[in-house]
């Protein structure tokens, strides 16, 4: 890391507009409006769908149709604020906290195992008075920062298998801690790590070997516990298993959608048939209400988001920024792909939320913070040009 620059940057952690007045040539004041628009559309659309899916559950459980919407709205407003603030802070500011952030995530993830509050049978939340906080959501951001930091430090040795393994090894503690009660997030974290190492490494062949190794590892992992194999069986034929209920209900919702859907708010499956429709299975309700057209538009929206992130990553002024955005992009991509794949029963069921749309305050808050980071990185891009392959 260029120490001089780092020192220099210290003096200019201030809002974007203010920074424009500074004479620093590197600062162009560019903000990726495309990304911002896509994020805001997703957040707005997410709130609408969240209300649609959660109104029934809110009414039944809390006698308030807007119960979930209110909580999500609060997190979203907070999140947009955080996004704005983060967008206006030079991302290098976070570099020095990378290791600390990672350690904090380890502590919080450990803490949640001890004093976490249980919701729906999972101990994933830390209660802070009236608010609850999900450390695993924070852990994703922390890992992105930490790995970006670590890779930049070891960039010369990235071609070496040893380095790769060491870096992988460094995230295993958090993967282990989070994975204890939230396997899905652990997989996401692992996925982000793999993507970052892949992007940072100049080589290709290693990754083919690594991929093969991963497949083998997954096979062993699945066969270790019989319930994981059962999940596979349910995946292949959800109608034959009682535990296939959620999957099947999701499929009913998707299938009922047809081309144009039942219409916004008209879902039947959200009325208790798809359990907790505002959570992981929200995409199935989108399919039911908005049809194939709506569902494909949502996928396109996410693809646009990932594309913008790719553009920012490709044009980031330095590797640290590029890696952070790549991590964010990986995060988005993995989560969207896994969620839709689960909902459509393309892969076995595992609890993964749909970014910006599924219910979850911590998730939205940190997703927006990540978007803030990406915006901040985009603001230092000199000129935007499509990445050259």
């Amino acid at each position: 890391m260029d120490q001089n620059r780092s020192d220099h940057m210290k003096t200019r952690y201030m809002p974007l507009k203010a920074s424009q007045t500074k004479e620093n040539a590197k600062q162009t004041g560019y903000v990726d409006l495309g990304l911002l628009c896509i994020v805001l559309i997703l957040v707005g659309f997410g709130l609408v769908m969240l209300y649609s899916t959660s109104a029934y559950n809110g009414l039944i459980k809390f006698q308030d149709a807007a119960y979930y919407l209110k909580k999500q709205l609060f997190a979203t407003i907070l999140g947009v604020g955080v996004m704005m603030v983060v967008a206006n802070i030079d991302y290098h500011f976070w570099e020095r906290f990378a290791v600390l952030a990672y350690i904090v995530s380890l502590i919080l993830s450990g803490l949640v195992l001890v004093v976490g509050s249980e919701i729906n049978g999972s101990k994933r939340w830390l209660a802070l008075g009236p608010l609850s906080f999900q450390p695993s959501e924070y852990a994703k951001v922390a890992v992105i920062l930490f790995l970006a930091f670590l890779i930049v430090r070891n960039v010369k040795k990235m071609g070496k298998i040893k380095t790769m393994f060491l870096i992988m090894l460094s995230v295993l503690p958090i993967v282990g801690l989070v994975g204890t009660n939230n396997l899905s997030t652990a997989i996401i974290i692992l996925g982000i790590a793999v993507i970052l190492i892949f992007v940072a490494s100049p080589k290709y062949m290693q990754f083919i070997g690594m991929g093969a190794l991963g497949v083998g590892f997954i096979a062993i992992f699945l066969s270790l516990e019989s319930y994981r194999l059962e999940r596979l069986a349910i995946w292949r034929n959800p109608e034959a298993y009682e535990k296939g209920y959620q999957t099947l209900q999701g499929l009913y919702a998707i299938g009922s959608g047809g081309v144009f859907g039942r219409g916004l708010g008209e879902s039947m499956q959200k009325l208790g048939f798809v359990p907790e429709a505002q959570n992981d299975m929200i995409f199935s309700i989108i399919c039911e209400e908005l049809g194939l057209v709506g569902a494909v538009l949502v996928i396109l929206l996410f693809l646009l988001l990932i594309w913008r992130l790719m553009v920012i990553a490709g044009n980031a002024t330095d590797l640290f920024g590029a890696l952070i955005v790549t991590g964010i992009m990986g995060h988005m991509a993995i989560q969207v792909i896994l969620n839709i794949a689960v909902v459509t029963n393309t892969i076995p069921n595992t609890g993964i939320t749909l970014p910006f749309i599924s219910y979850g305050g911590t998730s939205v808050l940190f997703l927006l913070a990540e978007m803030g980071l990406a915006l901040s990185i985009s603001s230092q891009v000199k000129e935007v040009s499509p990445p050259k392959a």
Binding site: M1, S201, G255, F273, C287, G291, L303, T326, G330, T346
Partner: protein, 644 residues
């Protein structure tokens, strides 16, 4: 500073392309699910969401021979509260308890119960339901429903039957004609959430119910009413256990009245009609009592017919030619059959008598002789031929079968007792039907109530037909039987049923129930009129009368009373023979003109007639008279004369 190198960008692009491909594949998966599998999943989902709620079909009416409705439906309401929609619980509690006449605590409990829907009261009158609906209380639901209603409550209770809570017939015609009466329930297809709660604003698919068809029966409520009153009266007078009356058309088997007193209230069929104390009884015992109350003795129970059965013995004997009207018999007061001495009801015996006199006297030895002359084979041949050993096929449920000796076990003693109607049991309907068939010219008819089935609009759906069997005895024998039985009423043991101007045939019976030691009797009379062209047959059975128990003494007068009323009602006119006209002083005169006559002159004129005269005023001339001069009046009328 570390630059973002080309290979980094390349790899980022690779990641993006991977994402693009995977998301594309997922979109493909969605196309597969939402276009090609859509129908399948849609169907599955619909099956999950749809709930069918049935709409009760109105049950068909039961309508008597005059068009009087005997069974119909009444709209009743069910009042319930939907907990989540209640806004003013206190108002609801006070209003409902006031209007429904319920205990406030009970209402409060139900209103405050946290359930999705709670029933407050069922079977509420429509007026009250409307009143509550008009209050417009949020959360209070008034549902309309049909309830079976019998306008004459106890009339022909055991014949009509009643329905259960599911509107299905339980006894009587309601069971027998269930398929015509019940109609087809409609359905409302609604959508429900996962808890099964209906979604209020979801579009409803409705299949309208098809109301049941109306059943037209031969029963005449006027005749039924009169017979019920007569039966009730004699039951009370004789402190009898029960009285049954069966009135039918012997020509076609149409039942005009079927009485089994005590009757019960069809609108409240689960309350006993007696003051039996049921406290401490098991449910089973209570149910037994109810079953007893619901029994239609005319059909469900058998009894020893006694002397009325001599009609069958006589008809068989005549048909077989083993006896003729002028055959001579002698009755010493008993007949010894094998080792048994079988007594006649007249201790001293009837002495020498013809067959005609024998039947008029209801002489047991005469019928023992006839029975023995017939022999077992012949007797049973006629039982079969007359249809006595099978059920009548009446269109009411639970008809009991004849309990007759096995043919192989019938020796002379059994044969002798069968001849005068003892040692076996048949149902009243069987006796009435068999006698009808003997006196109607020899056609075995099927007794029945159902005549026609029509839809709600009055269009015929089905005309009910019943099997008949012709020539079960010859017309000649039939006519002879008509004559013989007319003699019984005219001058024999049935003379208490004699009505001047009507040819009435009949036979009395007094039988002892089993065990004989209990000294309980069944007193009965079977009559029909006109004897030479029977239009109506009436069987009256008094169960366990106290005091005098002879059928000829207590049952015959009741049938006379019934005939005296229903024959004119049926349009059968009195026709007097010369003898009867004189004997009963029957005839008509033209009222003479008495106006202006003195009292003496008036008395002179009226002397010719046997009119009862009342004078208003002491002396003077006639200023007014009633009836007026020239009017045709009965010979025995009373006239009023005003003198001034």
């Amino acid at each position: 500073m570390l630059r973002n190198k080309t290979y980094n960008r390349k790899k980022i692009l690779i990641i993006f392309i991977c994402c693009f491909l995977v998301l594309g594949a997922l979109a493909g998966r969605l196309i597969y699910l939402m276009l090609f599998q859509s129908e399948y999943y849609q169907e599955q989902a619909d099956a999950l969401h749809e709930r069918e709620r049935s709409i009760k079909a109105a049950r068909g009416k039961i309508i008597d021979a005059n068009g009087t409705v005997l069974a119909t439906n009444r709209t009743v309401c069910t009042i319930s509260v939907i907990h989540s929609q209640i806004k003013e619980p206190e108002v609801i509690i006070s209003k409902l308890s006031e209007i429904l006449g319920m205990d406030e605590e009970t209402v409060r409990k139900r209103v405050e119960k946290n359930s999705s829907i709670e029933r407050i009261k069922t079977n509420v009158d429509k007026e009250i339901g409307d009143e509550i609906r008009n209050l417009g209380l949020a959360g209070v639901k008034v549902d309309e429903d049909f309830k079976r209603y019998y306008p004459y409550s106890t009339l022909a209770s055991k014949v009509l039957g009643f329905t259960g809570s599911d509107n299905q017939g339980i006894i009587g015609l309601e069971v027998k004609y269930e398929e015509y009466l019940k109609g087809i329930d409609g359905t409302i297809l609604t959508l429900t959430d996962a808890r099964g709660v209906e979604i209020a604003d979801a579009g409803e698919d409705r299949i309208e119910p098809v109301p049941g068809n109306d059943l037209y029966i031969s029963l005449d409520s006027n005749i039924q009413k009169y017979c019920e009153q007569a039966a009730q009266k004699v039951m009370e007078q004789k402190s009898a256990d029960a009285v049954s009356v069966l009135v039918m058309n012997p020509q076609n088997g149409e039942i005009m009245a079927m009485v089994n007193v005590p009757e019960f209230d069809l609108n409240d069929p689960f309350t006993l009609n007696t003051s039996v104390d049921t406290t401490g009884m098991t449910e089973e015992q209570k149910q037994d009592l109810l079953n007893q109350m619901w029994r239609n003795r005319c059909i469900n129970d058998t009894y020893e017919p006694g002397s009325t059965f001599k009609i069958i013995t006589a008809a068989s004997g005549l048909e077989e030619g083993v006896v003729h009207l002028d055959d001579q018999f002698s009755c010493p007061g008993f007949r010894v059959v094998e080792d048994r001495r079988i007594r006649c009801h007249k201790a001293g015996g009837h002495g020498g008598e013809t067959f005609v006199q024998g039947i008029m006297n209801s002489c047991n030895p005469v019928f023992i002789d006839v029975g023995l002359r017939l022999g077992v084979d012949n007797f049973y041949k006629y039982f079969n031929q007359l249809g006595l050993l099978s059920k009548t096929g009446v269109d009411l449920p639970g008809e009991a079968a004849t309990i007759m000796h096995k043919k192989d076990n019938v020796g002379p003693v059994e044969l002798a007792t069968i001849s005068f109607g003892q040692s076996f049991q048949i149902t009243p309907i069987q006796l009435a039907t068999t006698v009808s068939s003997i006196i109607n010219g020899g056609t075995r008819i099927t007794p029945h109530l159902g005549v026609e089935v029509k839809n709600t609009g009055g269009d015929p759906v089905k005309t009910l037909t019943y099997p008949t069997k012709e020539h079960i005895i010859s017309e000649e024998t039939s006519e002879t039987m008509q004559y013989l039985l007319e003699q019984v009423v005219k001058e024999g043991s049935g003379n208490k049923a004699y009505i001047p101007g009507y040819k009435i045939g009949g036979k009395t019976a007094t039988s002892q129930t089993l065990p004989r030691s209990a000294h309980k009797y069944i007193s009965s009379f079977l009559g029909f009129a006109p004897a030479d062209d029977p239009q109506v047959l009436c069987l009256l059975i008094i169960n366990n009368p106290q005091g005098i128990y002879y059928g000829g003494t207590i049952a015959a007068p009741i049938v006379k009373d019934i005939f005296g009323n229903i024959l004119p009602y049926m349009g059968i006119e009195q026709r007097f023979t010369e003898e009867e006209t004189q004997e009963n002083n029957i005839g008509e005169i033209t009222m003479p003109d008495l106006m202006g006559k003195t009292k003496e002159e008036m008395q002179e004129i009226l002397k010719e007639f046997e009119l009862g005269v009342s004078c208003i005023g002491e002396e003077g001339t006639v200023t007014d008279q009633f009836p007026l001069a020239g009017e045709t009046i009965s010979k025995t009328s009373n006239v009023i004369v005003y003198l001034e």
